[in-house]
């Protein structure tokens, strides 16, 4: 079975005024369905660049990127938008909710850009997702009225609404205290166990410990790629049962 994500010799150069910044210098990586991968590395190692490419927000200078069956490395802007709305879910460090929307409306946003009408059914799905992340009693709240942890839960629900192949999380706990971080990581681990593929950028080892696999980057290369035999979430789930 081919991986959800297959990247082959991915190169990304940024042309600045006089110099060329070589952010990725030939990265190859395969992520299988149901994997939970933590992407680590110091700043400037290229992990953010890699995440942007994986998120179809940018196009590589060279190399190939297969998301599922499709090679997205050569796609036009509009096609990339379509890929994002159909196959990807994003969780950001600063939550990035739309301030003027309620919880349910925020969860709905990715569906706005799939070319179909919103129905009672999609509405119901959004409410279910809000309940799944534990915000069933705050459906009509606006982001300003929620705590950081709650906002990140809304963002996770939003990342799930289009039933994506892949969830990309960019330091999802970076703005949260350790207790709330734990809650968020529990939620992600639970989703992973339900079959969701997750790629998460982090620089904290105890957050990376929740993943099944840890990839370390340095200077635009993959430095190490090791499985994590005892990810945190498993133990937590086992102890809970």
């Amino acid at each position: 079975m081919p991986g959800v994500v297959r990247i082959l010799d991915l190169v990304k150069n940024y042309e600045l005024e006089a110099v060329t910044v070589r952010a990725l210098r030939g990265v190859s990586l395969t992520v299988d369905e149901g994997d939970f991968l933590a992407l680590m590395g110091p700043s400037g190692s290229g992990k953010s660049t890699l995440l942007n490419l994986l998120g179809c927000l940018d196009r590589p200078t060279s190399g190939n990127y297969y998301l599922g069956e499709e090679d997205v490395s050569e796609m036009e802007d509009d096609q990339l938008s379509e890929i994002r709305s159909k196959y990807l879910g994003f969780v950001f460090q600063s939550y990035n909710l739309l301030a003027q929307y309620t919880v349910v409306e925020n969860i709905e946003v990715p569906l706005l850009y799939q070319d179909r009408r919103l129905s009672e059914e999609t509405q119901r799905r959004c409410v279910e997702l809000a309940e799944l992340v534990g915000l069933g009693d705050r459906l009509d709240h606006r982001p300003m009225q929620l705590s950081g942890g709650q906002q990140q839960r809304v963002a996770i629900a939003r990342a799930l609404v289009n039933d994506p192949h892949l969830i990309l999380a960019d330091e999802p706990t970076g703005n949260l205290d350790s207790r709330t971080s734990d809650e968020i990581m529990h939620l992600l681990a639970k989703l992973n166990q339900a079959g969701k593929t997750i790629i998460m950028v982090t620089h904290e080892t105890d957050i990376a410990a929740w993943a099944r696999r840890v990839v370390r980057m340095r200077d635009g290369h993959i430095e190490s790629d090791e499985p994590n035999p005892h990810p945190n979430g498993h133990i937590a789930l086992v102890t809970r049962h």
Binding site: A99, P110, Y113, D115
Partner: protein
């Protein structure tokens, strides 16, 4: 995956975005109202100016209709005293003559003609009542040409011109009263069959006119504003007999007089197309038979064209004013939209990351601009309606002047349509700019 009809999807998106735009307008009430001020004023100006233009045009048209579009009005005009005659006579003789009147009949396109003698305002008496009004000597044809309405009795008839048994010289002493005269002299009873005293003679009232709208003045001296409700109409023949052709004016001891046979002749032309040619023929006729320019020819149809030209000029001016204010309004919108795009860069980044295509972003900001200008347009319509109904009312109340305004329903739709167009036109560039933002950069934007 089920796919719906693209139009329905577009409608869905559009209506959602409209709600969102209205919501953010409500959130920034002051900012929004300042930015659409130009649109409000522009739209209001279009509607009110159109209404005033239409109103005055309407008034002018009514006026012309009252004078009759197929009519030609020929008047006697006192020529300027040139002092050429050393022998200063008491009386100045000028104006239209009965011979002129006969000549007019020979113009083939003239189908009706009414001669008039107008005696300057004087006392009309009955018992203890007195009223000042003009005495007009005319014929039965006057009724048709001026579309006279009567409230009681009859107008003058042809038989009134014939020799009658009215008195010693066989003139019929009958009269028809204008509405104000009738009201003043007969406050409590019907004037029909009663007598009034004109110039020491008794006249029997045979009819009373309905109230008549005055006609407006025309540029030049040929036709001045006329008021009809104080008039008394008597048969022309009787008028000649009772008043003679001379009128004396006493002025600081000196006596001067003028002799005029007919003050006015109103001619009706068979066909609207022939009015102008006939007018020229009449002028020609008068020029050949009068030494002095003691006459004037007015063709109300000319006024119609003048009014139309004036309306056109007014329309050009209006379009000019409207486009300037809407242009300024549009710039206001563009300005605020550019600010909005900068302010909401992060939102744009989020939406792009979540799958929005460039055209979705363009659409969103375009809708927002259109919603702003349409809301501005709506308020502008309200402002315009306020002016159209309020200003004439205020003018009537406080300055006692008549300011005609006639609301043009089309102007409402027109100005709303134009405000929407302004939204599209000036919202386009900011929306394009929003859609061109790089999603990664936009997401990083604080």
């Amino acid at each position: 995956m089920n796919s719906d009809s693209p139009l329905l999807v577009l409608w869905d998106k559009g209506s959602r975005l409209m709600v969102l735009a209205l919501r953010s307008l409500w959130l920034h009430k002051l900012r929004a109202s300042l930015s659409v001020l130009g649109i409000i004023i522009g739209t209001g100006a279009v509607i009110s100016l159109m209404a005033f233009g239409e109103g005055s045009m309407h008034d002018a048209l009514e006026d012309i209709k009252r004078q009759g579009a197929t009519n030609i009005i020929v008047r006697s005009i006192k020529p300027p005293d040139d002092g050429s005659s050393q022998r200063r006579s008491f009386t100045v003789t000028y104006g239209l003559t009965y011979a002129d009147f006969e000549r007019f009949q020979m113009v083939s396109s003239v189908v009706g003609s009414v001669p008039m003698r107008i005696v300057d305002p004087q006392e009309i008496r009955r018992m203890q009542y007195m009223h000042r009004g003009r005495v007009v000597g005319t014929t039965a044809a006057y009724q048709n040409i001026n579309k006279i309405q009567l409230v009681m009795g009859r107008f003058l008839v042809d038989a009134d011109e014939e020799e009658g048994d009215g008195d010693d010289v066989g003139m019929r002493n009958v009269c028809v009263l204008g509405s104000d005269v009738a009201e003043a002299l007969f406050p409590f009873e019907s004037p029909l069959g009663q007598s009034v005293v004109l110039n020491k003679h008794l006249f029997v009232v045979v009819g009373v006119l309905a109230e008549r709208m005055p006609t407006g003045a025309v540029g030049g001296s040929s036709v001045s504003a006329e008021e009809f409700n104080n008039d008394v109409y008597i048969p022309l023949r009787t008028c000649r007999g009772r008043y003679g052709e001379r009128i004396y004016i006493r002025q600081s001891g000196a006596r001067s007089g003028e002799q005029v046979e007919l003050h006015q002749v109103t001619l009706t032309v068979s066909d609207m197309d022939k009015v102008r040619i006939t007018g020229d023929a009449i002028r020609d006729l008068l020029e050949r038979n009068h030494i002095k320019k003691d006459w004037g020819v007015t063709v109300p149809l000319d006024r119609l064209e003048a009014a139309e030209r004036q309306k056109q000029r007014f329309t050009v001016l209006l379009v000019f004013i409207a486009s300037i204010s809407l242009f300024v309004g549009g710039i206001g919108i563009m300005n605020i939209m550019l600010a909005t795009v900068t302010e909401r860069t992060r939102e744009i980044g989020i939406r792009r990351a979540l799958g929005a295509k460039r055209r979705d972003i363009t659409f969103q900001f375009l809708i927002e601009a259109i919603v702003q200008t349409s809301v501005g347009g709506l308020f502008g319509v309200l402002l315009g309606l306020g002016i159209v109904y309020g200003v004439p009312y205020a003018a009537e109340q406080f300055f006692n002047s008549h300011l005609p305004a006639k609301l043009h329903v089309m102007s409402i739709f027109l100005s709303l349509g134009v405000s929407i167009c302004v939204g599209v036109l000036f919202g386009w560039y900011p929306a394009q700019r929003a859609s061109r933002l790089d999603p990664i950069e936009a997401l990083r934007h604080e």
